[in-house]
Amino acid sequence: MIAALFYLQHHSARNRLVARFKRLKQPKYLFGAIAGGVYFYFYFFRYLFRGYTGGGQPVAAGIPPDYLPLFESLAALALFVIVVLSWLIPHERAALTFTEAEVSFLFPAPVTRRTLVHFKLIRSQLRILFSALLLTFFSRRFGGNVWIHALGWWLILSTMNLHFLGASFTRTLLLDHGISNRLRRLVVFALVAGLATLVWLWAKATLPTVTSADTADFNSILHYTQQVLNTGPALCLLYPFHLLVRPFFAPDAATLLAALAPALLLFILHYIWVVGSDVAFEEASLEASQKLAVRIAAVRAGNWQAARKNHKARRAWFKLAPKGPAATALLWKNLIGVGQIFSARLWIILIVVIVMVFAGFGGSTRAENISTMAGIIIAILLGYSLLIGPQLLRLDFRHDLPMADILKTFPLRGWQIALGEILAPVTVLAGFQWLLLLVGFGLVLFLPDKHESEMLAIGISAAVLLPVLDFLMLLIPNAAVLLFPSWIPSGKDSPRGIEATGQRLIFAVGQLLVLVLALVPAALAFAAVYFLLKLALGPFMPVPFASLAAAIIVAAEAGFGVMLLGRLFDRFDVTEEPAS
């Protein structure tokens, strides 16, 4: 029976791979694969066998030997937290996720429950091996031996996978014995809280008291953490986790071999636990497979939003009257989609918190340093929000393209739909950026040389320019998704693979080029107004006026872009190949 399941896995994987190679006949995938391949080579592969550190001292996982125990303890602690959460949070009965086809073929077949568990384990190995490979690519960049990394990651991921499965079986058994989720959570929480208290009491009793000078020095903090985690009850508590992560941190083959035996023993014990559990998972698995099928169907239909779990009804950001500009309806709809995370309440809370922080800083000697640091962070965030924000906030055509046929039945002109679609991400981005600017200006007040008027001039300029720049930045990917619907992933999630990464890279470069071209007239307008007014107003005061001139140019370009986008949408053929 296992042979048949191996056959299924082997041929499914092979056919999937063949299909991906076949689609390279299409230029969009071929160019994507080339660009993706080049990116992966330069970012990961070239470090794979020759180390990022360039032949320095051999180090374990790229970590200096002095810090090795601390990193091992931190890794063990991270695993401990994950394991605790796996016992604390889930509430469902054990459900091995099968596809609907697997349920149809395997559940009625003369296959034992244990074989189904083995099938699940075999299948999860494909995912684990791939994840271990990717993680090795990443961690190898920082040094260490490639094979040790790969083996270490595989051991950690496989054992954790078995643990999650075993935990789900045990939770189900507890439920079957009348122990409710609430009781189980209470017990686990009490246990963890008790252990944490024990560690804290032990540290307080045996380790020197932490002074304010210690907390100011990062090395002192690290040293103290190392002492807490590597001695006393914490060491006992984290010991199994130390065993699991130790192979990953092995600096050489001999140490690896020594660390391998206990880690493998842990793995085997987990395997025995999982395979030995006789828990009825079929019913819950059936339900899970149906949910999975719905999600897959939604994803294949391009409806990624529907593929999300845990939908909640969200409040509208404003009341939508039945009469008025129709584009507002799309803004209203998409803002609901943005979700409660950006609700007015959150903005108010954020502002209140920031005001309180400022009030707390008032007169503090450390306020100046913190203000400077926070100012730098805000400037970086503003830059990122302009460049990355339009990629992350996709509640526009990129999200609604699978509903294009419905949008096309609306009695609206193309430009109205285009405007309505783009307004939501612009609103959210501009709101975020204005808030950052407000915070930034607030921080200026704590600086010794405040330069309030200069900072105000720059702040106003940024506040004027950023929304129109956001608009421009959002026009480009929206135009791209209408021009090349099969190239640009639409929806929340994205297709995976080297070629998909390559496609994204090609479009990122394209977007940057278009942006630069679009900014040339605005930059010229800025320069012209600035130099005209500089003689009369000095170096800073002309900046807002020059920015306004630039913003008008960008807004005109954006308006033209909306008209163009509307025409693109009017011409968009809904029978075009969807994003794959």
């Binding site: 939003q305 939908h311 939508l320 039945p322 709809k333 509903m403 419905i406 609206l412 002109r413």
Partner: protein, 252 residues
């Protein structure tokens, strides 16, 4: 109410719909039938302005769907076989959204009535993900009917409905027709077409095979007897020599 002249839709070399002409009067219920790949959905999409025809014209309520799209689209509703809803809008938010799109001033009263009629009143705050397939279909119908369309297209309207839902859907279609709406139903369910359609349009490979009242079509394709069922007519019209073989119930 709907005039179609020389409608042709090409996909590259492939002709999905070829030189199709017909018209529909208010109160008529036209059944659009044909085998898979006949061009039914493409025709409906062209009639709804979702895809542009390669050649030909479509007029809805006297407005050309290509040159005067806004006026034409204000008068129509298109119900797809799979209800297409926005996952993050509740039932009532859908109505609110559609009301603004179609500028329906009194949508609150009309919407509440529609939800009552469609037994969705207690699901006002539910998301589509919380609704059954039939309820989603009802919500799509409520959204489509909110602006009182004069032209309605249905693509496989009974898919996924239970017997109660089917009965209500049939009643709803007939009620709209009695109120003067021009209706086109695309379906493979020939008994549905036979039961509620006043006219039949048979397509095959993008061509119009037949267009007329049930009596005219029956007479045309029923040889001498004149009492053939729509199923028999369908097979004759679409040149199927015999009905597809019935699958054996048992395999030994």
């Amino acid at each position: 109410m709907v005039q179609v002249e020389g409608l042709t839709k090409l996909y590259g070399e492939f002709t999905a719909v070829n030189d199709l002409s017909f018209s529909i009067q208010p109160g008529e219920v036209v059944g659009l039938v044909g085998p898979n790949g006949a061009g039914k959905t493409t025709t409906l999409r062209c009639l709804a302005g979702i895809i542009p025809p390669t050649r030909g014209t479509v007029r809805v309520g006297g407005h050309d769907i290509a040159s005067d799209a806004i006026a034409a689209k204000k008068q129509l509703a298109f119900f797809t076989d799979e209800p297409r809803l926005f996952d993050y809008l509740t039932v009532w938010q859908h109505l609110n959204f559609v009301a603004r799109i179609y500028q329906v001033a009194d949508y609150e009263k009309t919407g509440a009535t529609l939800l009552e009629e469609l037994e969705l009143a207690n699901k006002k705050d539910a998301l589509p993900g919380e609704l059954s397939r039939g309820m989603k279909q009802k919500l799509a119908i409520a959204c489509g009917l909110l602006h009182s369309p004069r032209v309605i297209y249905f693509d496989e309207p009974l898919t996924g409905l239970d017997p109660y839902g089917i009965r209500r859907m049939k009643d709803s279609i007939l009620k709209r027709a009695r109120d003067g709406a021009a209706i086109i139903i695309s379906s493979h369910l020939l008994h549905l077409v036979e039961e509620i359609c006043t006219r039949l349009l048979i397509l095959k490979n993008g061509h119009k095979i037949a267009d007329g009242t049930m009596a005219e079509i029956t007479q045309k394709f029923s040889e001498q007897s004149g009492d053939a069922s729509l199923e028999e007519i369908f097979f004759r019209a679409t040149s199927e020599p015999v009905a597809p073989p019935v699958l054996p119930t048992e395999t030994k």
